[in-house]
């Protein structure tokens, strides 16, 4: 039999590719940019606009800009002045945090960043991961704010990136579990739990965050018995966590509804109870499906931390604005806002890319 089948070695074929010479690029450009008269006109208008604006912008940002100098006189009126930004960069990161204690902030940053590779890795056991994410807020609170062996840092000494990070990461970590409970509550068969959850979610979604922040900072004192004060940081975190949890709860509820009923029945049919069924069968599938929407929500939450500025807490945006209230540098907001935008863009874009990576990984295990 074997003679009938001739086995000739398969010739290695060169991978198929288009030679990318000048003509190829020319053709691609023509196809994408000048495909129709309207396309051509738009392309030309945009090119002209770019040609006019881009050199000016680059010149303003970099070439004519002043980086080193003693004071305001060193600056050029028609170009960016980066002197205050460079001088204050430490202040932007740590705010008025005591210099001797800055290592605590640094380690908190490191712990937060460590969570990302851990979430991606397939080797880290899930229980450890959950414990990490749930403990992280507490650890970060103690590291940055103090307590349990660390000296307490007053709330007014928290500022800049430190405060932004502090609020952002604690709210992110804690709002997810709250949201999961709210979503389950909203689908509960017990009417009282269901009604409370629905009422809560609908109420919180319909009122601006800012209102809640004001209420937490101003009104709460009216209701508490005299002398009792709750740290303003605590109150703000509470608002951030519980407001964003309401939005996340709706995302998760949608994802739970998308899990086929048969999945729950299969688990119940084996004698598994409600909580275990939710924890091992429904939630893993629902959370996977809601990654894109949750990432968007996380980004929104991170940016919402800038709102605390209104309550007199100086997070990044606050400290940057504060430098330009300084007599020496007054009125140079443009550069400051550019720096703030750049910072938020880098962080939020990274979160988005990270989300895309997670999605790709989930897809690779789904068939």
């Amino acid at each position: 039999m074997s003679e009938l089948v001739s086995v000739s070695p398969v010739e290695e074929r060169a991978p198929f590719s288009v030679e990318k010479n000048l003509a190829y690029y020319f053709k691609t450009a023509r196809r994408n940019l000048f495909n129709s008269p309207v396309d051509s006109v738009l392309t030309i208008i945009l090119l002209v606009a770019l040609a006019v604006c881009l050199p000016k912008a680059v010149d303003w940002l970099y070439f004519s800009a002043v980086f080193i100098g003693e004071n305001r006189n060193a600056c050029h009126p028609d170009a960016a002045c980066w002197i205050p930004i460079i001088n204050f960069v430490d202040y932007y990161i740590y705010g008025p945090y005591p210099i001797d204690e800055r290592w605590r902030v640094d380690s908190a940053f490191a712990l937060g960043v460590l969570a990302f590779p851990m979430l991606m890795s397939k080797k880290v056991p899930q229980k450890l991961l959950m414990a990490y994410v749930l403990l992280l807020p507490a650890v970060i609170w103690f590291l940055i704010k103090g307590g349990v062996g660390f000296t307490d840092i007053s709330t007014t000494a928290l500022g800049g990136v430190t405060l932004t990070y502090f609020l952002g990461i604690i709210a992110m970590c804690l709002s997810l579990p709250v949201a999961i409970l709210l979503a389950l509550g909203r689908k509960s068969r017990l009417p009282i739990i269901r009604w409370v959850c629905i009422l809560y979610i609908e109420l919180v979604r319909a009122v601006p965050v800012l209102t809640f922040l004001f209420m937490a900072s101003l009104m709460l004192q009216l209701f508490l018995p005299g002398g009792v004060t709750v740290d303003v940081l605590f109150r703000i975190l509470f608002v951030l966590i519980f407001v964003s949890a309401a939005y996340k709860a709706e995302i998760i509820r949608g994802a739970i509804q998308a899990v086929p009923v048969g999945q729950v029945e299969a688990s119940y049919a084996m004698g598994c109870g409600y909580w275990k069924t939710m924890a091992y069968v429904v939630m893993p599938q629902a959370l996977r499906n809601s990654v894109p929407a949750l990432i968007t929500n996380f980004i929104g939450l991170f940016k919402e931390t800038t709102l605390v500025m209104i309550l007199g807490l100086l997070e990044l945006m606050g400290v940057v604005r504060a430098t330009f209230e300084n007599v020496e540098w007054v009125g140079m907001h443009t550069e400051g806002m550019l720096v703030v935008s750049f910072f938020f863009f880098i962080i939020c874009f990274s979160i988005a890319q990270y989300g895309a990576l997670l999605e790709r990984r989930i897809k690779s295990t789904k068939h």
Binding site: Q263, S267, A269, M270, G271, C272, Q285, R288
Partner: protein, 247 residues
């Protein structure tokens, strides 16, 4: 021959709103017996077996499964579910777990076995349904027939006293039906108590101890397969058989 009763149903009724899904069902199932439930679609076959493990609650009458009477007690319901294995039309394997993890699920989370012990039991059952070599794959990577065999293995992991099959071959391509029926045949021969809702009349003829014919929520006829297929007692069963066996 003395046989013990595993399932007892007395005057069981169920309504979906105004729709009367089960009407006065009286049925006993004996240990080691293979019972095939057949009848036209919408006749209440699936509802009947789903009331046995409380996936549907009956409204009237009494049901006793494995010596436990179905009531509102959550503990009892879980115990009944532990001693009944169920196989669904749509397999309902957990897509985010591998084949092995699917089979370990009940052992780990319901029985609280160790990982090692669970793996051992799960592997043994996967071998029984001849799919052991696929243990690392996800359900989505398997054919329908393979998935259904895994689902049977998963239902067997808690060593149930009774197995419920809810149209196990209806969602399968024709060439995969036999591999699933083969597994069911082996189970039946090994003395498992089985209640099968199925349209596979060949299986009913060969392996059923009794055939239950249902229509419009009532049990119309219970007979031995040789009687049922050759001289059904009722006209309606005859009509049904004519339609099913026409080809």
């Amino acid at each position: 021959m003395v046989t013990s009763t595993v399932v007892k149903m007395e005057k069981v009724n169920k309504w979906y709103g105004k729709y009367h899904a089960l009407r006065d069902i009286d049925l006993n199932v004996y240990k080691g017996e293979t019972l095939v439930v057949c009848g036209p679609s919408g006749s209440g076959k699936s509802t009947l077996i789903r009331t046995l493990n409380c996936l549907e609650r009956h409204d009237q009458g009494a049901i006793e499964v494995g010596g436990i009477t179905i009531a509102d007690n959550l503990k009892d319901i879980e115990n009944i579910r532990k001693c009944t294995g169920m196989v669904f039309q749509q397999f309902n394997l957990f897509p985010h777990m591998t084949v092995l993890e699917n089979c370990m699920f009940g052992l780990r989370h319901v029985k609280g076995e160790s990982i090692k012990q669970s793996q051992e039991i799960a592997r043994g059952l996967l071998e029984k349904v001849q799919i052991a070599e696929q243990e690392g794959k996800y359900p989505g990577q398997l054919s329908g027939g393979q998935q259904q065999r895994v689902a049977i293995a998963r239902a067997l992991t808690l060593s149930p006293d009774i197995m419920l099959f809810d149209e196990p071959t209806s969602a399968l391509d024709p060439e995969m039906i036999s591999e699933v029926l083969e597994v069911m045949r082996d189970l039946s021969k090994a003395g498992m108590t089985m209640i099968c809702v199925t349209h596979e009349m060949g299986f009913a003829k060969q392996f059923a101890d009794r055939v239950v014919f249902m229509e419009a929520g009532s049990v119309i006829e219970i007979s031995k397969p040789e009687d049922f297929f050759h001289q059904p007692k009722t006209q309606r069963a005859q009509l049904f058989l004519n339609q099913v066996l026409a080809h």
